[in-house]
């Protein structure tokens, strides 16, 4: 199994600012993903973090709003840019190997 450290665990941000969330995995993993859970809803995939290249975004998510980096196999960042109250969610980093998926503790973001 893999242990994922995600930080910050929570933050309250002013609208119009940006927040970068970090995700560190304790072992090399095949894939890394970023998910969002809006209040009262299920988890939705934002993008696949590709090592050394641009992330692959799901429908409804764009790089300008959610820039993602993955400089190596065990580390990724997600930035939530130009935040608005609608971005208030839990953001989760996930890492997968062959047939298992692991999650960080999540970042609870509140935009005021």
């Amino acid at each position: 199994s893999a242990v994922i450290s995600q930080k910050p665990s929570r933050d309250i941000c002013q609208r119009g600012t940006s927040l970068t969330i970090q995700c560190q995995v304790d072992s090399q993993v095949t894939m890394m993903f970023w998910y969002r859970q809006q209040p009262g809803q299920s988890l939705t995939l934002i993008a696949t973090a590709n090592q050394g290249s641009e992330a692959t975004y799901e429908s409804g998510f764009v790089i300008d709003k959610f820039p993602i980096s993955r400089p190596n196999l065990t580390f990724s960042t997600l930035t939530v840019s130009n935040m608005s109250p609608e971005d208030s969610s839990i953001y989760l980093c996930s890492a997968t190997n062959r047939d298992e998926a692991f999650f960080g503790q999540g970042t609870r973001l509140t935009v005021v």
Binding site: M31, F33, S42, L43, T48, D99, A101, F103, Q105
Partner: protein, 115 residues
């Protein structure tokens, strides 16, 4: 289009009894099916999974059943304990192809186990 559905938003059971959580899916190409438990303000915690080539997997108090013809899976918790109270998500997982590693989640079921 919701590919994974958990039609019961909540379930309440008595301690010691069985909890049965259900999940339906539409895409027969998924490779694995997983159950996660999530407490408030925490990330999802992996519980148990089942490969698409099996129909049952058991781990302690947790058993997952897969009915491929009905595109239905269920999680049984026996006996239920108050500490099991959480939101349970079923998810599907692709082990290959362009969707490799991606999870598709159901909406979640809130389980409450009463002492």
């Amino acid at each position: 289009d919701q590919q994974v559905k958990q039609n019961s938003p909540s379930l309440s059971v008595q301690e010691g009894r069985i909890s049965i959580l259900n999940c339906d899916y539409t895409n027969s190409m998924f490779d694995y099916f997983l159950w996660y438990k999530k407490y408030p303000a925490e990330g999802p915690t992996f519980l148990i999974s089942i490969s698409s080539i099996k129909d049952k997997n058991e781990d302690g108090r947790f058993t997952v059943f897969l009915n491929k013809s009905a595109k239905h899976l269920s999680l049984h918790i026996v006996p239920s304990q108050p500490g099991d109270s959480a939101v349970y998500f079923c998810a599907t997982f692709n082990a290959g192809g362009t969707s490799y590693g991606k999870l598709t989640f159901g909406q979640g079921t809130i389980l409450t186990v009463h002492p």
